[in-house]
């Protein structure tokens, strides 16, 4: 037991600042009638639908593109590719959100290029991508940011993979596609699954990206909670806390389920 005391200062900090914060958030969100009125409110419902949609679509695109990128970079210059991917992973989301405004706005660079190429009759003809109801601007930012993250995870697995399994499948007459689907993918799936669960939970609790490149109504859950907390009356705070707690619960359940599922498949392999 002697060694455990070395961790005491760190435990104390996490307990006071994080667990203490969670407990105060839970206590402040009570009584349960606050949850009832939040869940009944139309703002929460449409915000929840939007948040789940954005998190799910961003995760799906990032997972597919990340896997494809990892497969493409696997044999050629994997170290250099990993370095470039790493750069994108560490760049704050905010920078990509600002760039997305300059790219995707009706007067953004994409609209200008299309107009110059004669593919756009006028400025008004460019679709509203940033503040649209589907959250396309938000999704674009997250796909650009999370694809390299999942690609790095997959690439790490692929580089450590025993090539013998794939070569054996090929020697036994499996086509390239069959080898990919039945040998390579099952080996990458657990890591990709766990990584995707993390991405989903992360996008689910997004704030600055939807705050900058998303609609104000309905907004993602993080934006709704922050707004009620900081701009509302003091009496609005319990409901703001209830929104935040509900959001955290959904994110935790999804991450836990995703990780458990990935772990089970991992054990099966």
């Amino acid at each position: 037991m002697k060694g455990a005391w070395l961790a005491a200062p760190a435990v104390l900090v996490i307990a006071l600042l994080f667990v203490g914060g969670l407990i105060l958030a839970l206590a402040g969100s009570l009584p349960l009638s606050n949850y009832e009125s939040v869940l009944r409110g139309s703002e929460f419902q449409s915000s929840l639908v939007l948040t789940v949609w954005i998190a799910a679509v961003s995760t799906l695109f990032s997972a597919v593109l990340g896997l494809l990128a990892a497969l493409a970079f696997r044999h050629t210059a994997p170290r250099l590719s990993a370095m470039v991917l790493q750069v994108v992973v560490v760049v704050p989301h905010l920078a990509f959100a600002v760039a997305a405004i300059h790219l995707l706005a009706p007067s953004g660079l994409i609209a200008r290029v299309l107009l110059a190429a004669g593919l756009l009759p006028s400025q008004g003809a460019f679709p509203e991508l940033l503040y649209d109801g589907w959250g396309i601007g938000i999704i674009s930012v997250y796909v650009v940011k999370e694809t390299p993250f999942l690609a790095l995870l997959c690439l790490t697995v692929l580089l450590r993979l025993d090539r013998g399994l794939e070569e054996a499948a090929r020697l036994l007459g499996a086509s390239r596609l069959q080898t990919l689907l039945h040998v390579t993918l099952p080996l990458v799936a657990p890591t990709l699954g766990a990584g995707s669960a993390v991405v989903f939970a992360f996008v689910f609790s997004a704030f600055e990206v939807p705050w900058l490149v998303g609609r104000t109504y309905p907004a993602m859950l993080g934006v709704v909670a922050q707004k009620r907390f900081m701009e509302g009356e003091l009496a609005d705070r319990p409901e703001a806390l209830a929104v935040a707690v509900l959001g955290a619960l959904v994110a935790i359940v999804v991450t836990a389920a995703g990780t458990a599922l990935a772990g089970r498949r991992n054990a099966a392999v």
Partner: protein
């Protein structure tokens, strides 16, 4: 590892990926030096260093943001590493009951969306008189930074052989001397990486700073958003480049340090 010549797939991936990842950052660079870039021009009409001289002038509202971000980041990184060092050592080198549970507990902030706990933390900060202050924001930044530092250092200690320390002790070195001349030099790369990660996490915090700082503590990310929303796109772009510079520097340094 089999290396092959770049095929078509590779070129497609590199082109698409490179354009999607680095294109937006180049666009920010262009906006930061653009003097007027009206619709529907493809390139800025003229170039200016106005945004950059504003960012580095002493009497703009940018100076306190740069100072706050840098000082909070350095303090958070230093405190994280000092707290993480013994904790990581305990997890990696000591065998005791509940070790896995302890590790899971310390990693909790990484697995939980930060909004709820930060809102609760705001009440603690109010009670301590630290709401809307720089120390309060720094304490709040410890929550995501410390677990990362522990994660990195646990990896370093897992590869550390405590026999080295025992040998030094047997040869008559004091515990302080062993720490200074044996343990620290071996763990140094891990310490540097943990410091860097913790700094970057603090440097890019947004919502936590907003909630605990209450709008009174300005940092670089908050100023990027403020100028963007306020309509000065040149300054917002220049500040966004300031925001990403440490991250890119760190990624390049890390890949050189870890894959020599």
């Amino acid at each position: 590892m089999r290396q092959s010549k770049p095929g078509l797939n590779w070129w497609i991936a590199v082109t698409l990926g490179g354009a999607a990842a680095l294109g937006p950052l180049l666009l920010l660079g262009l906006w930061s030096v653009a003097e007027g870039w009206r619709w529907p021009r493809l390139l800025p009409e003229a170039f200016t260093l106005r945004a950059w001289s504003f960012v580095f002038s002493n009497h703009s509202e940018v100076a306190p943001a740069l100072w706050n971000s840098t000082s909070i980041g350095l303090v958070v990184a230093a405190v994280s590493v000092v707290l993480a060092f013994p904790a990581a050592r305990a997890i990696a080198l000591h065998r005791f009951q509940g070790r896995a549970a302890l590790f899971a507990f310390l990693m909790l902030p990484l697995l939980t969306p930060p909004l709820a706990s930060t809102m609760g933390l705001h009440r603690t900060m109010l009670a301590l008189g630290l709401a809307d202050t720089v120390p309060g924001v720094a304490l709040a930044h410890l929550v995501p930074a410390l677990p990362y530092a522990i994660l990195v250092l646990t990896g370093s200690f897992a590869r550390f052989d405590p026999e080295l320390e025992l040998q030094a002790r047997t040869l008559g070195a004091t515990p302080a001397r062993v720490l200074w001349s044996v343990t620290l030099p071996v763990i140094a790369p891990g310490l540097a990486a943990a410091f860097l990660f913790a700094f970057l996490l603090s440097w890019s915090q947004f919502l936590t700073t907003m909630l605990i700082g209450g709008g009174r503590v300005v940092t670089v990310p908050l100023q990027v958003a403020a100028f963007q929303r306020g309509g000065d796109e040149g300054i917002a772009a220049a500040l966004a480049i300031v925001l990403i510079t440490p991250a890119i520097g760190a990624a390049v340094w890390a890949s050189r340090a870890f894959h020599p």
